[in-house]
Amino acid sequence: MKKKLLSGNEAIALGAWDAGVTVGAGYPGTPSTEILENFSCYPDVTSEWSINEKVAYEVGMGASLQGARTLVTMKHVGLNVAADGLFTSAYVGVKGGFVLVCADDPDMNSSQNEQDNRHYAIAAKVPMLDPSDSQDAYDFMRFAYTLSEKYDTPVILRTTTRISHAKSIVESEENVQPQRPKTGFERNVPKYVMIPAYARPRHRIIEERMSKLAEEAVGMEINRMEMRDASLGIVTSGISYQYVRESFPDASVLKLGLINPLPMTLIKEFASKVKKLVVVEELDPVFEQQIKAAGIACEGKKHFPITGELNQDIVSRGYAGVPKPKAAVVNSLKLPPRPPSLCPGCPHRSVFQLLNKHKLIVTGDIGCYTLGVLPPFSAMDTCVEMGASVGMAQGMEAAEGSKYAHNVVAVIGDSTFAHSGITGFINAAYNKRNSLILVLDNGITAMTGMQHNPFSGKTILNQQTVTVDYVKLAESVGLPADQVRIVNAYKPEEIEKDILEMLAKKKLCLLIVKGPCVIAKGKGRYD
């Protein structure tokens, strides 16, 4: 056994490799990005940054049906994009073990919402594992592949920011020679082709599978009953387990590793051994509601907040019902805030100055450039989800009439445009809309740490590949040459001229502002 200090994400990549995974696909998203970055560096594996999470999931399904053990990674909101595949993949099952690692971001450190993805496991009827530190992340990954193949189902390993981006000690086997299942496609039409006649029996199989799993979960090592003082028993999982151990060192704890389906028989047994049962979980009362529905008395969100992250202080104060005490030392100076901001050397700053100057309505999108909402730019009016800038601008025009189009500009980055802006762009052409779409192209997926994408011309391993051609793309949906332009980000006068001329056309226009990310340049990411 070798001791290493690993982040949860590094431990997940190592666990996947040691489990014999040979195919990895994903889309970058904080806090999940480093999983695939690390995995791609292992020998004899095939990995890719997919164009978006949906495609990553589909690549994963194909690899699994071909017999390879497969890893798919994304952040929590990415699963909204990939959910179509998730739900029906539960019907299809797997051949090689298939694990989706999905990273939640309670407190929204770098996200637009704090959805609790445990709901997805329940809704899609797939098993979910919830590690409590990097050692768990490593061990659970290896277990997840066994589970996936034994029960013929995709498995979700869910992390949160404090698991993915915290480092702790991992003891792993040395020189593992991963066992790799034999690959090769075997035709199995009633299992793989989900027409209604074949899907109906598969749904029954899912229900049987989940019932069996709930029974067998009672004996699984990853669910652990720690009996101490019986006056208080706490059901918990994930990072919350660590806060519980800090806050209530003497309490009995049922630490759940498998959190869907819940091992209700085990929870009942634990409840019968303790005087009072309390559930500690971050975000939604997912366990609490199920435990109460099973007729077991417990307390949960009555003590702890439903929003934001927990920590040991919030957990102990919440349970004691006391307010935050006065700090031991107090700062009496007024401090200016230091929010994140567009980098001082970012070539795309001038675009936001222009959008502000001309008082345009700006539908925004997800990336570094979302920071254009903050002063001194204050030039963004909406930001909802990947690709929404393009679609929402069309909706505004649809509601207001085509004359309105010259007031609205959709602003989107290159990676986001590839992810799901292109579909919106085709929709605009098809439906005769007249928006101006501005693509701020820095040739990299910058916010998540400089990953390549279909507009950067490089793969995850930095190998040369095709670069999507904006002009030909525009041509292919019928845009005349004067409705698509590429301009240098360092020439603000030209950008201003182009924006004004294109708005005056009152037709669908695509303006590409090109300027490389200065950080990526410094790191040699374009070499």
Binding site: S110, R162, K167, I169, P336, S341
Partner: protein
Amino acid sequence: MVGRNPLKEGTMDKIHGILMVGVGGQGVVLASDILSLAAMNAGFDVKKSEIHGMSQRGGSIFSFIRFGKKVYSPLISEGTADMLLSMEEMETLRWMDYLNPETRLIVSKMHILPANVTEYPVGVEKELAANFKHLRFVDTDQLIKQLGNPKVLNVAFLGMMADALPMGMDHWASAIKDSVPQKTYEKNMEAFELGRTKAKEA
């Protein structure tokens, strides 16, 4: 630094809480990686936590490190940090909730203005002096001149912390070796030693 050093006492049973703060791009995360590795090398259980992603674009950066016999939470409880390294002066005040009058502080005098702010707050040094006994300000401009390279500044700061912590020099050296590019190892070790020397000056 003066006075008794609780960090050296009862070392294995105690959970040590170290907070490192600064501004994106200053090397806070690498420094906290090295300290955590040194603690692991010395036989401690270690956890550390920080935030990546959007907050790194010029925003405040922090890293929590905890080590001891057995560590559960990767987060430091309010009022319990044993030591704070601040690589930017005013950032120190943002983290007061985690400190107490006994916390040992090493504070860079470097001033970095947040975006859209034109005046640096006045009285930060005074505010800190009024609250803490074990407080050391570092003239970072002078230190960079001595180092000849601003890139190893974070490791020089680690050197300033090292003798107040229970890890041996071999634990630090191998942690640095495993964390920095091989060709910069010597330069980083020189910076670390310079930091140690600085810390011993009155």
